[in-house]
Amino acid sequence: MTAPIKDFAKRSNGYRAAKWSEPVVMQMTGTGRRGVVFEDAPAPALPGKSARKAAPALPEVTEHDALRHYLHLSQMTLGMMGISLFGTCTMKYNPRIGERASLDHLRGLHPLQEAETLQGVLEMYDNFSDFLCEVSGMDQFVFQAGGGADAAYTHACVTRAYHASRGELQQRDQIITTIQTHPCSPATANTAGFEVITLSLEENGYPSIEQLKSVVGPRTAALMVNNPDDMGIYNPDIKEWVRIVHEAGGLCFYDHANFNGVMTRLRARELGFDACMYMLHKTFGAPKGGGGPAVGAYGCAEHLVPFLPGPVVVKDGGSYRLDADRPQSIGRVREFWGNAPQVLKAYAWARAMGAEGLREAADISVLSNNYMDWRLAQVRGVSRSNPGIDAPRMEMTRHSVEQVTEETGCSIFDISMRMTDFGIDALWLSHEPFLVPEPFTPEAGELWSKEDIDYWIDVLEHVIGEAYADPEIVKTAPHNAAIHQLTSALDEPDVWATTWRAYERKHRKQMAAE
């Protein structure tokens, strides 16, 4: 529970990030220091050319040097435990018990063991598939995809295999999507070799049926959409969309990364979709980890099951085995069975929640969003996207500070950066292109308490107040963070280095001067 902002000034001196003058770990060399020294470590006997000629360039630090170094670095971040109402796909807390469970249960296993010795983990995969089938109405789930985008790619490949099996792949070379579908759908459709047809939004906040009909035809391979879309708008015509695409012979894929508001209340299959995807690393409580180990759980109806990536876990009587003999399978999209520890964490979360828990979480996330909407409506200069339409919005929607920007010159980026001075992580704005100017898309989910939501909106309100009173404070923020504003865009290749080697190459002169 966060203390209300009114106590902020009274009881605290505000958030201040430590600002250590910390070298890059690679600069900690030449000291001869070691962490642990193994007196009699054997030198590996490597054949001829495999042995390196020069010793690797490694930092030389003691164990406590290393710990202090990383402690300092972590003190220079917001700590990933701040209030982050991060929309377009729910971010939630990842219970620590999941870390423990995956360590305890998976540490001793290897995916190449004989299946008889892996019965527990195979059972978990099978159970979780059943669980998600119940939730979505699909017939089989696989957990190989290493993220949401990877699951979308899985679908693009399944689409290809499906039409090829019917001899229609040459003809069906187009995948239809919408401008407010997550960019991973068009990107993966392109990668799989399809032409992408993107539908534009119209007055109701989503593309009209006429627009869809204008492009559906014999070339249609699939429809790939999320619903709600990136602005949080649910398309009320979605069943009709699916019917139209099916009638033309295309498949329909539901990117259900934004599942939180309708968990246990809406099944992708019942809307007619052939396949869908959930994000275990978001909706199902497993860590997302900055594009690191994630899982896009991909599920499909019976007619697509033969094309799924393998091996697939199969239950034979009382035991489980891995079925790799699947002639129509698209093959692998990821090594082994994907990120098994994440699957286990999500499974633990889902079992702990149960059907009732999921339903309650969905309801709370809608309630929280309504509360958030109600409060945001009272903040000066903040508006909701598509104010004139009444399409349902459940767990999130896009807002804008355009008026604040016009009146004070402070953009949403400035406001977001000033909010970090109050311990708030950078806001989620919008995917591109920005159809709503100066956008931000908060989502509370079931996690954040009313006090948390209040604090977040209080900070926003406070910062917008500052923008009107003294815009300079906002424009030059952050003031209390370890690092202030960037001085150049991140896509300037001569400036930025993402590895130490690149840094040495690009900044040799400067390093020599130092």
Partner: protein
């Protein structure tokens, strides 16, 4: 040290309030004075300058008149003639002196600036005119100011080419609103947020379009006669076919250009009996597909060619900037416009099309 040039056309916008379709008539200043009217341009320039000043302390050289307030130094000719000559002289004096020319005016001012801008300094418009069909105008004075500051701060000074259109006086005398494509200019690339939002740096509109053009050329049918419209995007397509005109309508067949800068009579003669395709881009800043800047592709030409398929190539960023989200056609033939209206797939990248509503 970076410097900003600020051109304020003191008669910009006057014609609108006086019920005229522009402010280009030479005696507009005297008549406005007689009617007691003042231009909003200095005021709008001051708004842009305030937004600029909030983010930049670069010197601002302003002329032929000064904005309201005192945030700029006077620059250019001392004695004013009260005609477009003042603008031309100021722009000439700015050559080599400034890094960006911000101007308050409309299409007419943009044309004058381009005429005098010999070294091709990037220009950016503060919307203040009667006619603003060109692609150089920011959406508001404040945005123009902020974008100018961002441009001067950007070490790479990224720019893009945009079309400068102005009302077609000949068509106007016939009672029809139509615009001609006069030239192209370099303008500051709007990279809103690229600096502080790392994810915003990820798209590459120029690369996307380039790939789209390459794919288009690779798939051109050998027996079809292609009518290629004007504009910077189309020029890049024509360059892939060996050259061609920037402002004109060209023809291509069999993988090369076979007609350059043709008028509608020449096009009429060439399309008869042929299998034809038309390739267009969205010209200027107002979302026009046909009837602005490409009148050569007239309703007669389209009918003579048997209402050929029309391919449109346009970057997704440009489409996203349209308000409302639609494109417009105005061939001067309402029946034809009605037939053509509907949902058009616009090529936005290699293997990418976006469906956009086209209205008459």
């Amino acid at each position: 040290m970076s410097r900003l040039g600020l051109i304020i056309n003191p008669v910009a916008g006057l014609g609108g309030a006086m019920g005229r379709k522009g402010s280009d008539e030479t005696d507009i200043a005297q008549r406005a004075t007689a009617e007691g009217r003042v231009s909003q341009a200095p005021h709008r320039a001051a708004r842009a300058l305030a937004a600029f000043r909030a983010q930049s302390d670069a010197p601002v050289l302003a002329g032929p008149v000064l904005p309201d307030g005192d945030a700029a130094q006077a620059f250019g000719p001392g004695a004013l003639t009260q005609t477009a000559k003042d603008t031309l002289a100021t722009v000439q004096a700015m050559q080599g002196q400034v890094d960006l020319i911000l101007f308050a005016g409309g299409d007419g001012t943009a044309r004058d600036i381009c005429a005098a801008n010999e070294t091709g300094i990037p220009i950016l418009g503060i919307p203040s005119g009667v006619k603003m069909q060109s692609g150089v105008f920011a959406r508001s004075p404040e945005r123009a100011g902020r974008l100018s500051a961002a441009f001067l701060a950007d070490p790479r000074r990224r720019t893009e080419m945009v079309e400068i259109l102005d009302l077609d006086e000949a068509a106007r005398r016939d009672g029809r609103l139509s615009a001609q494509l006069y030239t192209v200019a370099r303008t500051a690339l709007d990279r809103q947020g690229a600096r502080q939002n790392p994810k915003a740096g990820s798209t590459d509109p120029v690369g996307d379009l380039d790939a789209a053009l390459a794919a288009y050329v690779a798939e051109m049918e050998p027996d079809t006669l292609y009518i290629l419209g004007p504009g910077t995007t189309m020029k890049a397509l024509k360059d892939r076919l060996g050259g061609g005109s920037l402002l004109g309508v060209d023809l291509a067949e069999g993988g090369r250009l076979t007609g350059i800068d043709l008028d509608d009579t020449a096009l009429l003669a060439r399309v008869r009996g042929r299998r034809v395709r038309v390739v267009l881009t969205v010209v200027g800043g107002q979302g026009f597909l046909l009837g602005r800047g490409n009148q050569q592709i007239s309703s007669q030409v389209l009918r003579a060619a048997g209402l050929p398929p029309i391919d449109v190539i346009c970057g997704a960023e440009k489409l996203a900037g349209l308000t409302p989200q639609e494109l417009t056609i105005d061939t001067g033939d309402p029946t034809l416009d009605g037939t053509l209206a509907g949902y058009w797939p616009v090529i936005t990248g290699a293997g990418r099309k976006q469906v956009v509503r086209v209205v008459a």
